[in-house]
């Protein structure tokens, strides 16, 4: 089962829950995937043995100066303005390129081949608890993360449990992260921000037809509108984790929450059994 841990707003506790669930489900058949590739932090909370490391590339055009007639056709058809052809010079802006290959297919001189532009890295590690973690780390300055997110998810498709730590927001990176998952666990907080962003992430999950459930983190005796948002969307509130300043402090120090606060084990078990129930 592939569970996406998402939630719209940043800092609601996505990584905390992804780490706890992976620890709770720890076995060689469990994998934690950190696809918050702009800020991959889940790995910081585990003891691990580093495994393979791989650079992920995306295709971009390479112009062969000898064949190029500087006709400017490629610049004219590029919808993303990634190519500028001047009489003396060819300029290519990889950060604008969407890797669509239109220039490669349509160049009248056959002067374009496809080269590779680094997107970021994928790193795998074996955790002390027996599970594995696969993290994507976007190259700083690279604007397009979905390709790397897809590459991380592609690495492991056999695991009986895959926990996917997703990026915040509801734009294309978040959609790429939850795509193909069996369940979307949305972590939120009982504030107006939490409620507002939860509404948007529920729309995103619905758009892809993925069943969703809500967890309220830092709960203080009142759902503060989260219940209304969940009810309106027809999704259940699976759990409420009360605000614990000592948990926040321990998490700041990089301690594994489930090992420091064994009581959380019961809560994770409850979330998993509820997801199982929902899926039937």
């Amino acid at each position: 089962m592939r569970i996406a841990v998402a939630g719209g707003k940043g800092g609601t506790g996505k990584t905390l829950f992804a780490v706890c669930l992976a620890e709770y489900l720890a076995s060689p058949q469990t994998v934690l995937m950190d696809v918050d590739v702009e800020e991959p932090d889940a790995v910081l909370f585990f003891l691990k043995t580093p495994g393979f490391k791989e650079i992920v590339y995306r295709p971009v055009p390479l112009v062969n100066e000898e064949k190029c007639s500087h006709c400017g056709y490629c610049a004219g058809i590029c919808q993303f303005n990634a190519l500028v052809i001047l009489p003396e010079e060819i300029m290519f802006f990889p950060e604008l390129c969407h890797s669509c290959r239109a220039c490669y297919y349509l160049c009248p001189c056959g002067a374009i081949t496809m080269g590779l532009h680094p997107l970021g890295e994928i790193e795998e590690a074996l955790l002390a608890n027996g599970a594995r973690i696969i993290s994507g780390c976007l190259r700083i300055g690279e604007p397009r993360s979905p390709g790397l997110i897809a590459a991380v998810k592609e690495r492991e498709k056999q695991a009986s449990w895959a926990i996917i730590d997703c990026p915040p927001g509801t734009a294309c990176p978040m959609m790429e992260a939850i795509r193909g998952c069996d369940y979307c666990l949305l972590i939120t907080e009982p504030t107006p921000f939490g409620a507002h962003d939860l509404k948007l992430s529920l729309e995103a999950a619905k758009l892809l037809g993925i069943p969703a459930g809500v967890v309220i983190n830092r709960w203080r005796g009142n759902d503060r509108g989260i219940d209304q948002v969940a009810n309106y969307a027809g999704v259940p509130i699976l759990s409420r984790l009360p605000l614990m300043p000592e948990l926040a402090a321990s998490y700041s120090r990089g301690e594994n929450p489930l090992l420091t606060f064994p009581d959380l084990r019961g809560l994770m078990g409850e979330i998993i059994s509820q997801i199982r129930g929902e899926m039937q």
Binding site: E39, Q79, G169, A171, C172, F193, S252
Partner: protein, 290 residues
């Protein structure tokens, strides 16, 4: 005109709450929220006279089913796998127009896609705020941010405001890169925890790629005293002015959550006044060219 952008890399570090306090304190400024896929700053101001504008940041292929001969060429060539049996998935299509150029019977046309909306409203102090809403799952958040930046500058010129104060998006991806264009000062808000620090270092590396000034504000500094000390040492080493340290407190969050003005809390107001003063001072310094 000067623009100050609040960023943090990590989400939930307190950007929006801090930015709203700075906006209220500064008063005479244009407020802007670049977090186009989860816009929260407008929730903190009772905006009036909100005008809505639709925004199209790209295009989408449309296949005319009457002329399409279902030859399957476009389906084969589309790297986004956006076409199936002559139908285009709006979500997957990135608008590259390759299908339009290669279609043997000219059955494809490109249409502007609706990517979201942007808004301009008036804050209770009479000054404007601009913000936007990207449609869920849309591409082109960077382009919408660029549009918003244009609108913010136009509005500031109209209203004769010399300062734009902007709340940035989380992460380091395309909306952040776009928001960093022509910014005079980046206020980095950081938490001292292990993930907060990791994210700050990555953010700093990204910000360094642009000619701009930076300053640091530590939030929840007492959650991890050692980490906070490390952050202070780091800022000293990098010669980044540290403008303040905010303790972990539910008082501010509660005030904001229940619609009260957090600046009524004395200690918080004092810190924010120092930060505002520190930012004005930082703006006087020259931009280091790397």
């Amino acid at each position: 005109m000067r623009e100050i952008l609040v960023l943090s890399g990590k989400g939930g570090a307190g950007k929006t709450s801090i930015c709203s306090a700075l906006i209220s304190l500064a008063g005479s400024c244009l407020a802007c929220d670049y977090d186009v896929d989860a816009s929260n700053l407008p929730l903190l101001f009772e905006l009036s006279q909100v005008q809505e504008h639709s925004y199209s940041g790209g295009q989408v292929a449309i296949i005319d089913s009457d002329s399409c001969i279902l030859c399957g060429l476009c389906e084969q060539m589309c790297v986004y796998r956006a076409i199936q049996e002559g139908l285009v998935s709006q979500l997957a299509c990135e608008g590259c127009a390759l299908c339009r150029y290669i279609c043997p019977v000219d059955a494809v046309r490109m249409e502007a896609r609706s990517s979201g909306r942007w808004f301009r409203g008036q804050r209770p102090d009479g000054k404007p705020m601009v913000y936007a809403e990207l449609r869920p799952g849309e591409e082109n958040s960077g382009k919408l941010v660029a549009e918003l930046k244009d609108q913010a500058r136009q509005a500031a010129l109209q209203e004769n405001l010399s300062l734009v104060l902007s709340d940035g998006p989380a992460g380091l991806g395309c909306p952040v890169i776009s928001a960093l264009t022509a910014v005079d000062l980046v206020l980095m808000v950081a938490e001292p925890g292990v993930s907060g620090m990791e994210d700050l270092f990555r953010l700093y590396e990204l910000v360094q790629k642009r000619p701009t000034r930076v300053a640091l504000l530590i939030n929840k500094h007492d959650l991890h005293a050692l980490g906070s000390q490390r952050l202070q040492n780091w800022s000293r080493e990098k010669e980044i002015p540290l403008l303040g340290k905010i303790p972990f407190s539910l008082e501010v969050a509660d005030a904001i959550g229940s619609g009260q003005n957090p600046l009524e809390i004395d200690w918080f107001r004092t810190i924010m006044e120092d930060v505002l003063e520190g930012m004005q001072k930082a703006l006087q310094s020259p931009i280091a060219i790397k």
